[in-house]
Symmetry: C2
Subunit: 273 residues, 2 copies
């Protein structure tokens, strides 16, 4: 009778979970696929984990570069919890897939980091464009890479980030093409969300920010830009990974691109106006 009852209806312990908590529990249970479209309405974040001796410099780097690196949550030293982003959140297990970096190279892409966790590690969670994309879609703006089920195209630019300790290098940007009137609306909408990259950093002239070929992104997938469209560029949370690689940092852990931390914050709560 007990086992029949369990199959007849969902376990009451999980049935009433918020979609964001359910997403993290799914990751703990082994989900290792993209979080795009998961727990719609909830804020997702980029992850950077560093040893304490590098964390202060990285924190200054984020302070200097709030557009690519807006911090939405941060752990205490050695603490794998970030209660402000989710009471039960465990940063060691709650992302689908991680990247372990040594000397600036990805050496491993595990689905949890239980075996890599250390008492000196600090976790930073950085805002992600999924949040402002929700606001753009809600306003009726078409987003090319979502329509085509591709990853957003991302580019290393010639825009230098402010440097802090070993953290230095070019800003990475994501690109979305829009008709001109929609580009103007996109500036307005994303200006309301400074904690998830905010307003664009550039539009219209890819060469001016060091992008030689718009059809060859450094990360993600290429999308076409129409003759009557404007490529619009936002600062991107992949910037820290580019910087970790350039600085050849001895040790770091990040999320795998597109496989983010799902938090209990709501996207709409991030709007400043």
């Amino acid at each position: 009778m007990t086992s029949l009852a369990k199959t007849d209806r969902p376990d009451p312990d999980t049935a009433n979970l918020s979609p964001s908590v359910a997403a993290r529990h799914a990751c703990r249970a082994g989900m290792a696929t993209t979080t795009a479209g998961v727990a719609n309405g909830f804020v997702q974040g980029n992850l950077v984990i560093l040893p304490e001796k590098l964390a202060a410099a990285f924190h200054r780097f984020c302070q200097l570069n709030p557009k690519p690196c807006p911090i939405i949550g941060m752990s205490d030293v050695g603490d794998f919890r970030i209660p402000s982003l989710g009471l039960d959140l465990d940063i060691r297990t709650d992302l689908p897939r991680y990247r372990v970096w040594r000397d600036g190279e990805v050496v491993e892409e595990p689905t949890d980091i239980m075996a890599r966790w250390r008492d000196d590690l600090v976790a930073f969670v950085i805002g992600c464009s999924y949040s402002f994309e929700e606001a753009l879609l809600a306003d009726g703006l078409p987003i090319r890479h979502i329509e085509r089920k591709l990853r957003v195209p991302m580019y290393r630019t010639n825009i230098a980030c402010g440097a802090a300790g070993p953290f230095a290098g070019p800003m990475v940007v994501s690109m979305r093409p829009f008709k001109p009137a929609d580009a103007i609306r996109a500036v307005q909408i994303t200006s309301r969300f400074p904690s998830v990259h905010g307003a664009p950093v550039h539009l219209g002239h890819p060469h001016a920010i060091g992008i030689a070929d718009i059809d060859k992104p450094d990360y993600g997938d290429a999308v076409p830009v129409g003759d009557d469209e404007i490529p619009v560029f936002w600062a991107c949370g992949v910037t820290p990974q580019s910087v970790i690689a350039a600085a050849k940092l001895p040790f770091a852990i990040t999320h795998a691109p597109g496989l983010m931390l799902v938090t209990d914050l709501q996207n709409k709560s991030l709007a400043v106006l």
Copy 2:
């Protein structure tokens, strides 16, 4: 002694006038030059005066087209005062120069319209880009035509205004070139000022809005657009004059372009955020 005293110091009746009231008094006394740079900080307006039988349709036209035609003040029928814009304002005398239109043609450009005023006329005052230009300059953005002491370039577009009665036709836009990051900032700043045209209506692709040659504006002066710049287009208060001409209206009075009504409103009071 009395006359000596008068030359020694300004007339106390005018010395303490607000710059905006002083500007209107100067117009009454014969000033017939541009109001660009006059009474900085105070809102200037485009003027449209129509017979009552056309005024209701024009009012609907403005309602339908708030970006080119944001109404900031309006008179009662036959009343030459608009106290909300200035307690002593007399719309018949307080602009530097007027245009009298008959059958869609300018037939006269007098410095006052005392002889043309009628008991059936209604005056509309429409927001002007001088207000948002002040906010752009205050933020440190360079404005090309101001730097070069030229009039802003304006273009008839293929963007159709919403039609109301005889009022119909294409939107007129003004253009200011900016570096891309400044263009983004300009969208943010002007979005705060919906009553003076608000955010741009277009950027980047002049041909897409029917502008064949950016170097040949339909009104004002051409300004150069650099290869690393984006032309940014705002709806323009000259639109009603274009529409009056196209509709061949039997009678209308407007301001002469660039020679505006100076009001007692302050530009900063127009910011919605």
